[in-house]
Every structure is written in C-alpha cells, then in structure tokens.
Amino acid sequence: MSKNVQRLGKLWLSLKRTTLSSSSVGRPLLCHRSVLFPASTQAQGIHVNCHLLSQNLESQTTSKDESRVKLFIDPQVQTLLKELTGKDLKRVFRKRKIGQKLREPKYTFMTEDQLKQAQEEAEEKADKLLQMPPVLMPRKPIDEVLAFDPCIQMDEPKPSTLIFTDISMNIEDRDRIIVARDADGTLRQATWQERDKMNAIYFPVKGREFITPRMFTQPEVLQNILDRASEEDNTYEFVLDRACIQFEPDDPAFINTAETTYEAIDRVGHYDFLKSTRHYGPMVFYLVRTRKMDNILMHYIKHRRVSTDAMRLVTLFQIIFPECKSKVAEKTIEPVDKVRRYIQLDAIKKGELELALNAYVEDEERKAELEEGLKRQHAI
C-alpha cells in the first residue's frame, strides 16, 4: 500500500499541474462523478449493508480467531482438509447444469498410453477443480486521507465526489490506484465499495454482475434458496460458486454468505452434498473453528467413517485448538480411542456422541465375530 501511496503522491502533483487526461506518469486516467451512475443507488445500499456487517463481524472476532483463520493455509491443515474432501472423480466430474447446450459425446479409440495420459490430465483437472477458495478475515475498511485542498471545494448546484481510476493494463484489481476527491476538497483513497464499482466498470469479470444479485443482498432470498436445497440441483455448490465469482474472498459479503450456507448445511446434515467439491474443506474448517463440529462428527460415526474422517476431524480440531484437553503427545493411539477421548473431554454433545460411538464399536465387534465364524466354518 505504501508504494501505491508514493505513486499516488506523484500522480496527484501531476494532476494539479496538468489537465486530467494527460498525467506525467503516462497512464490514462479516467475520472467519474459518482452521481452520474443511475444504477448506483441500489449498489450503494448493498455496500452500506456489507459495511455494517463487517463492523459487526469485527466486533465479534478476536485476535485469537484471526490466528485460527490463518491456520487454513497451514500445510498440515490443508492435507487434512483435502483428505476429508476426497477425490471421487465421478463426483468431481458429475453432470452440471450450467446453461449450455448439450453436445454429442466424443468417442475415441485410445492406446494404453493415450488413455493413461488422458486419465492423468483428468486427475490434474480434478485437483484444479478441488482447489479450495481461501478462508480469510473480513477486509478492513479503507480510511486514508491523502490531501485536503479547500481551494477546490465544490459548491455547484450538485456537489459530488470525483473518482480517479488508473485503468492501465497489467495491474491487479487490488493494486490499482483509485482515489476519490470529495466535494469538500478532501482527496482520499477510494473505499472498498467505490473500488469494486470502478473495477467492475473498467475490468468486468465474466459472471460477476454489476448489481449484486438479490440472493446476496436479501437474506430471506438466500434462505429460501437454501431451504429448497437438493443434491441433484447442487444447490449449495451453486450458491457458494456464485458467491466466489461475485465477491473477493475477504469481502464480508462473501464470508457472510458462505457461513450462512455452511450453517444451513449443518442444520439439516447435508454434508455429503458438498463431498468432492472445493467447498467441503472450508465448510469443515468453519465448523471446527467455530466449535460446531459435533453434528458432523455424529454424521461420520453414523456413516461408519470413524477410523478415517472422524479421526481426521479430531486431528484438525487439535491443531486449531492446541490448548484443548483431549490432545495427547503419543501418536500411536487408536482412531476409536482418539475420537472417544475428544468426545469425553472436549465435545459439547457428549452423551449422544458417546452412545453413537458405543453402538458403532459393538457393531464392528459383532461383525468381526461373524466373519471369524464364517472363516472357521469354511475352513472345516
């Protein structure tokens, strides 16, 4: 940011001296009066909402929470999340309704080598498709005044804010210089909502809409969509994918939408709808981070995934909460024991989980006995 500020200083000087269109930096600079945008009223409203939201979130989160969120990029956490996500190619490449016309399938005769290569390419593609969207803290509001010049105060019939955007290519949207001159003569860095709007005008992203879709601005619309969720429609994935396109990952609106969706999933236990998608990892991470993992643990136990998924979940919990009671130094602990230890010491729904685990263990024992008996009989 400091670099940008330096650049801006120069720019500003040049602006003062010369006309708007020819800056000494040699970049085309465009200026906009925000009042010129007819459609902006609604969009501004949305951003104000987001702003309020971010403030709320900020007040809730603590520095501890921030450090936990940062753990998302920890390699150990990433591996655990990827293992939990799974890579069922049939699910990764499942049928999607993306509004395109169906083309006839392509049939090819392949030698062994060609087939192997095609499969490897598919694996790579699957990895790409399963790349998790980053989990970040909500971005901090920009509040930086660069200069104050009362000489150029505007008292026209309509005082308005002028926004200056550097529209030269090969600059990331985040690094782009965008400044605003208020009517009272203050030159400041543009706010996030102003930046988003300018970027959307000059550098539109395919699939990102200029006016935020109603499902992200009106909670009841989103709730309505989530209430009608079904596996064949990929509802949760649709919502999360759309949020990924529409917002930056640290946009409070994105974080809010994602978390609402995760909670909706948690409420009805539709965890497996997201299995083998890029959103499964962030969902599990959110549930563990906010200590709401008991339901999903129950789900794993009921689906007999104790030694695999349940154990990974408990491991993840112990990484994120290193101060927890159930953490033991020794590594050679049985998966069932590890899960039981977590249930006894750290779980919130202790009783239910214990019962489910006991039932699972009993069931396993009975199964083992039966198998042994069968083996013995066959041997005779």
Binding site: F93, K95, Y107, T111
Partner: protein
C-alpha cells in the same frame, strides 16, 4: 284491353284470385270444367294474341258466377314417394359423387324432422283412443280428453334436432390423430391380441401404411384389397413389423398387428435413450445415415423412423435419408441397421484399442466404455487405418453435411447498411430486459426523484387507481 282490365279489376276486388294462366286452347267466355268455374278472356294481339284464363283455386270458397276454379291433381310432390324426396334432399347423385360433390367440412346435412315425432302426440296433449291410447280399458270405453300440457316436449325435440347434422369433433386427441387427417397413418392401435398367457404388456402398435391395392382377375376384373403395414414395440427395445392384406380394412389391420407381434426383435440401446453408435444402412434404393445424439435432442428424422423409434424406446437420434423414401424400405433399412449395430466391447475388440467417451456435461472426463482383451501399441497401428470413431462406424460412407442456410439478403450491400443503421440500438432489447428484471420496469437516473419521467409512469398510476377502486368496492 278494356275487357282484361275489367276482368283483373273484378279479380282483385274479389281478392280470391290466385292464379292466372295463359292458354290458347280456350275460347273467350265463361268456362266450366271439372266442376270449376273459370273466366277466359281474349288478349290483344300486342300481348301475344292468346287468351287469358283467370281462375280461383280455392275451391272451398263459393265461387262467384263469373270465376270458375281448376285444380291440378299431379305435381312434383305428388309424383314421388316421401322416401324418394328425402333421398333427393339429403344425398348426392352418382354423377355428383364422381365429381367429388357432397364432401368436406362445409357439408350441410339435412335434419330428419320426423325423428322423435309420434302420430297422435302433439303440442296439445290429447288422449286419442285408438290412435295413441287403447279404446277399451277393462270394460270401460276410453274417452277423448286433453291432458295437462307437457312443457319439456318441445325442448326435447329441439335438443334431438340439434344433435343431428352437426359437425362432431374427433374423439382422438391431436397427438393420437396420426400423421395426416382422417388417414390411419401414424395412428396407434394398441397391443397385439394376446396369445395364450402372453398378452403383450406394454406393447403398442402403429400403422405405418394403409392403402388399397388391386390385381386384375379374368373373372372378377379388378380385385381391391387393403394392405396394412404395422410396427409394434414395447418401448423397451422389443419391436417387430409386418405387412398384411385383407378384403376389409379392419381385418387387414388386425392381422398386420398380430403378425407384427409374432416377429419381434431385440434392439440394443445406449443408456436406454439412443442408438449405440452412428451407422449407415441401406435397403434397395433407400439409404439412411443415423447419428447418435445426446439426451434431450429428440427425434429429428422421417416420420416413419420417428414412429419406429418411439415404439422401440429410442428417444434421441438424428437420421437422414438419402434416396428412395419408400416406407417399407425405410423400415427394413432402419431395422437392419439397428440389428447390425456393434456393441462397445465388440468395437474395442475388433480395433484392439480402448473405447473412451468424453462428454461435455461431464467436463470431458475420459470414461472407458470398453477395453480390448489385448491392447495394441502405437507402432502396431497402420498409418492409413481409420481412427476416427464416426468414420469407423459409417464404414466407407461419408454423410453429406449441408451448409447452414443463410438468407439471401445477408449477401446484399443493403444488409451492411442495415447493420450500420441499427448498430446504435443493437443492445436495447437486452438492456430493456435487464431493467425489467432488476428494477421491475424501465428506469433512468431521474426515476427515483421524478417518477413522472418513468416510462411506466402512466401504467403505474393506472394500476394504483385500479387498486384503489377495487379497495373502495370491497368496502362498499
């Protein structure tokens, strides 16, 4: 002339004159013939020079001495029987039939007004002993008497007449009506008749062809018969077809249907919706190129092939016929092609290579459909070996693909001109739809402050007024 005018004057004065006839035979003066009086007047030379006979047909009225009456006992209506007259009104003559008269939608059918009418029963509800009631009831003589009037009688009669001679809509729905008009082509006639315990569940038969055929005989001359070509199937891959002839249409139809049920073949389908692969097939001069298509494509082909596919259970396919479109040949060619399809494993085995499917809706994931027992390596494949799957399936035939049609005007310089002219509004439709979707009406940057500039302002006011009026009405 004076005599004529005086005679006419007399006639009009008496108001009994109904008929004037001109005859030359009569002599002027008063004539009394067959008990009727008539007045014969001489006409002047200018009017033809014949005599005028004035007569009064109303014989019941006492005739004055100067006018006599005559009646004609024969007329068109008296000469023919009622049946003949009725036929003359309702039917078309033989000669007319040959010219094709009396057919079609605008045909007016006569109503038989006698239907529902009984002798002795009328408007006045009267008991006539001997006519509509017995003469004796027990030992008592039945007397003629009037009953209370029946108010429903007239309505019943009218209702009965209304049902007569009116166009009756077909009972079949448009989907069941077949390919064309009242013909049997393409119509569904149900499953073949059960044989023993086998009652052809889930089967349906469609008539593909029904026509009259004839042969010449030394004794009987031209002998006409019905020829019916039927196709039956259970929509699960079982299907058969047969040709049957018979003197009557219904019998031939039944025979064709039942015979088709005896000649069933099983046809392999891909995922129960399309053919296994593209193929080329021919029978006689009929050549067909069949293309496998993705789900939801539908049946884009000749109507005969479409009917067959529906009965076999193929839902998506494109077929192009080259050459003769003789229906029987189309059916035979298509069935031969279907039977000769190769399974995926067979194709892989013959080629010695993996058969891999890549679908756009699965993001081109390579799905192995079939693997060979021994896979060849790259070096084993000859340089001129056809490797394209479609080419392998079509054999040595290459389907002709037409260029997409482009309207003639797109080549004209005026088209360029039009494009230039309309360029400024090329996106207006899209923007309009976007506005409707996002803001529920066309808006501009002043809309929020000055609603009267809104394009839908008048409509909004009208809606508001309407709502207010409705609310006021409810209150009342």
């Amino acid at each position: 002339m004076s005599i004529l005018s005086s005679a006419l004057k007399i006639a009009t004065l008496s108001q009994k004159l109904t008929f004037l006839s001109v005859s030359e035979k009569c002599v002027p003066g008063f004539v009394r013939a067959r008990g009727l009086h008539s007045l014969v007047l001489p006409l002047p030379k200018i009017m033809g020079g014949s005599n005028l006979r004035v007569l009064n047909l109303k014989s019941s009225v006492p005739c004055p001495w100067y006018i006599s009456q005559t009646t004609y006992s024969t007329s068109f209506f008296v000469k023919h029987t009622a049946e003949q007259l009725w036929k003359g009104v309702t039917s078309v003559s033989n000669a007319g039939k040959k010219r094709g008269r009396g057919k079609g939608v605008g045909k007016k059918t006569a109503k038989d007004l006698n239907r529902g009418q009984i002798i002795g029963v009328g408007k006045a509800n009267i008991v006539w002993p001997g006519l509509n009631a017995p003469i004796l009831q027990g030992k008592e003589l039945v007397e003629r008497r009037q009953l209370a009037p029946d108010p429903d009688r007239e309505a019943k009669l009218i209702k009965m007449r209304d049902t007569m001679g009116q166009f009756r809509p077909l009972l079949l729905s448009p989907l069941e009506r077949g390919w064309s008009g009242t013909k049997m082509h393409g119509r569904s006639v149900g499953p073949p008749d059960p044989i023993g315990e086998d009652n052809f569940e889930g089967f349906d038969t469609k008539i593909l062809e029904m026509k009259t055929v004839a042969n010449m005989d030394a004794n009987y001359g031209r002998i006409r018969r019905f020829s019916v070509f039927a196709f039956t199937g259970n929509k699960q891959g079982l299907a058969g077809f047969a040709l049957a002839k018979g003197a009557d249409g219904r019998g031939a139809l039944k025979r064709a249907k039942n015979r088709a049920g005896q000649k069933l073949l099983y046809i392999e389908r891909f995922n129960e919706h399309t053919v296994l692969h593209d193929f080329y097939t021919r029978f006689g001069a009929t050549q067909i190129f069949v293309f496998k298509k993705p789900e939801g494509f539908g049946l884009v082909c000749h109507r005969g092939i479409k009917a067959m596919c529906e009965l076999i259970g193929i839902k998506d396919l494109y077929a192009k016929i080259k050459g003769s479109t003789n229906l029987q040949h189309i059916v035979k060619a298509f069935m031969l092609g279907l039977i000769r399809q190769k399974s995926h494993s067979q194709l892989a085995k013959e080629k010695g290579l993996y058969l891999v499917e890549q679908r756009s809706d699965f993001q081109n994931f390579p799905l192995v459909l079939a693997e060979p027992s021994h896979c060849r390596s790259d070096s084993e494949i000859k340089y001129d070996e056809p490797m394209n799957f479609s080419q392998v399936c079509f054999g040595d035939q290459i389907p002709y693909r037409k260029k997409p049609y482009e309207p003639f005007y797109k080549k004209l310089p005026s088209w360029e001109n039009h494009l230039l002219k309309t360029e400024w509004r090329r996106n207006h439709g899209e923007v309009r739809r976007w506005h409707m979707r996002e803001f529920n009406g066309l808006k501009n940057h002043l809309s929020s402050k000055y609603p009267e500039v809104d394009a839908t302002y008048a409509f909004q006011i009208w809606q508001k007024k309407k709502a207010e009026a409705a609310a006021a009405e409810e209150e009342d």
